[in-house]
């Protein structure tokens, strides 16, 4: 059998991702699951026995016997992680440890500045330090449309995603490509590439929205309608909470719906409905009817009680930290 288990831990104890997770940050991963490890001490003497041969007093005959080859003072217990929680923690980790791609102004190719370039890592290096299974990590990676250029990994900001998507949409319109049907990925990427977005980002967006995982079959790809409509809505919402002062943050519902409609292929506009974004938004300024993406809403039943702020490593968390402070 091949290697299929991995013991992983976050890079440093401080990088411990979960605010809820206490104690050991070491996990055991299969390809698709993550298990927390809990060390259980025992006051009993636990011996590992191995059959051996006991030489009798006459030095001739032997009898089968057992030898204690090891004594264990503690065992490690595996506790399955909740996949939803793993996803939340993995996306926090990626957002925190990867530089943000903010749009075509962000230089992804010529970062020769040595002091800056030390923080750049490729996907694999990030994965090595991430206490999650391959599948969970990849899922999060795809979900965030993270991408690599010249062995450096980036996470696009919501406004960069909105711009990239807009660019895909307009390129498709200009060239008469119908995004509601299957299309040639390569030529789409070429068309959009002229707008200055890294190809890898465009591909990441398409993978995020592709209707099946077999997306590159014959170079043709089709987007999933429901995924696309919802994703565009979420990106617009996130974008609304991304910049500016707390007081000006957010977007009115009608303004938001207009933006959302604009960013959808024509035939899919009628599918945009607030129901798709249930639990995804919160009211930043209820008196003005402003809404905002509420990333930290874990509990779909309560929009009001946001969980208390994560205490660990929030220096890079930009917009939604500001947002939280604005709420206080």
């Amino acid at each position: 059998m091949s290697e299929s288990l991995w013991l992983k831990s976050a890079e440093t104890p401080n990088a411990n991702v979960g605010s809820k997770q206490s104690g050991s940050s070491t996990v055991l991963c299969t390809n698709d699951h993550t298990y927390q490890l809990r060390q259980v001490q025992s006051s009993n003497s636990v011996f590992i026995l191995l059959p051996s041969e006991n030489i009798l007093e006459d030095n001739q005959t032997t009898t089968p016997s057992l030898s204690a080859i090891s004594q264990c003072t503690a065992t490690l217990e595996l506790i399955p992680s909740d996949p939803a929680e793993s996803f939340t923690m993995a996306s926090q980790l990626l957002k925190r440890s990867l530089p943000s791609y903010k749009g075509t102004d962000t230089d992804v190719g010529l970062g020769t500045n040595i002091t800056i370039s030390r923080k750049y890592k490729d996907k694999n290096a990030i994965f090595q330090d991430a206490p999650f299974s391959t599948e969970e990590f990849d899922k999060t990676w795809n979900e965030l449309c993270a991408f690599e250029v010249l062995d450096r990994a980036w996470v696009p900001t919501p406004s960069a995603l909105a711009l990239a998507w807009k660019s895909i949409l307009s390129a498709a319109t200009v060239r008469g490509v119908n995004l509601e049907k299957s299309f040639d990925l390569k030529s789409l990427v070429e068309m959009v590439g002229n707008d200055g977005f890294p190809e890898a980002l465009i591909i990441a967006v398409v993978i995020r929205l592709a209707s099946d995982t077999d997306y590159l079959k014959d170079d043709y790809v089709s987007l999933d309608r429901d995924k696309t409509v919802q994703w565009v809505g979420i990106v617009c919402l996130q974008k609304a909470g991304e910049s500016g002062q707390a007081s000006t943050k957010g977007i009115t519902k009608s303004g938001f719906l207009a933006q959302w409609h604009d960013l959808l292929p024509e035939g899919w506009r009628k599918h945009a409905s607030m129901d798709l974004l249930k639990t995804k938004f919160s009211h930043s300024d209820p008196s003005k009817g402003k809404i905002i993406f509420g990333e930290d809403i874990y509990d779909p039943t309560s929009l009001e009680t946001l969980p208390s702020a994560d205490t660990g490593g929030k220096t890079n968390r930009k917009w939604h930290d500001k947002f939280k402070m604005g709420r206080k």
Binding site: M1, E3, N44, S45, L50, P51, S52, E53, P64, S65
Partner: protein, 138 residues
């Protein structure tokens, strides 16, 4: 490196072990078994001439070699004779969760490279002694 491979099977096939004296149920492919004592065994210091110290005998009084695998009543009673005058009474218990015995992988070569860990065996039963020792005559 914070990622360490844990190999699910040993690098080297288990060498042919000496005869395993345990009841069939407790036998594992590699021969490893778990024995637990609520307490500890006081051992004399090991001498270089005899690195192993004989503790005593493990006896399964109700177990018969040819017994039906369905009949598990023998599991209720196990004796561990410690030295000449003491006896512990215990039982064979199925572990609530199987236990993987993990060890460092022996790469077979003298390399400093991390080769990771491997699961040497998965054990499902243990022999547990949780009562006080009783005196016995020789």
């Amino acid at each position: 490196m914070p990622t360490i491979p844990l190999h699910t099977s040993p690098a080297q096939a288990a060498v042919t072990n000496p005869t395993n004296p345990l009841p069939q149920l407790l036998q594992t492919p590699s021969g490893l078994a778990i024995l637990e004592i609520q307490g500890s065994i006081n051992l004399p210091a090991a001498s270089p001439s005899s690195p192993t110290i004989s503790i005593g005998r493990l006896v399964f009084p109700d177990h018969t070699a040819g017994g039906s695998p369905e009949n598990k009543s023998w599991m209720k009673r196990v004796h561990l004779y410690v030295g000449q005058h003491q006896r512990l009474t215990g039982e064979v218990k199925k572990l609530p969760n199987p236990v993987a015995v993990i060890r460092k992988r022996d790469s077979g070569e003298a390399t400093a490279e991390v080769v990771g860990l491997e699961i040497a065996e998965i054990v499902y039963y243990k022999v547990i002694f949780s009562s006080r020792p009783e005196p016995v005559g020789t």
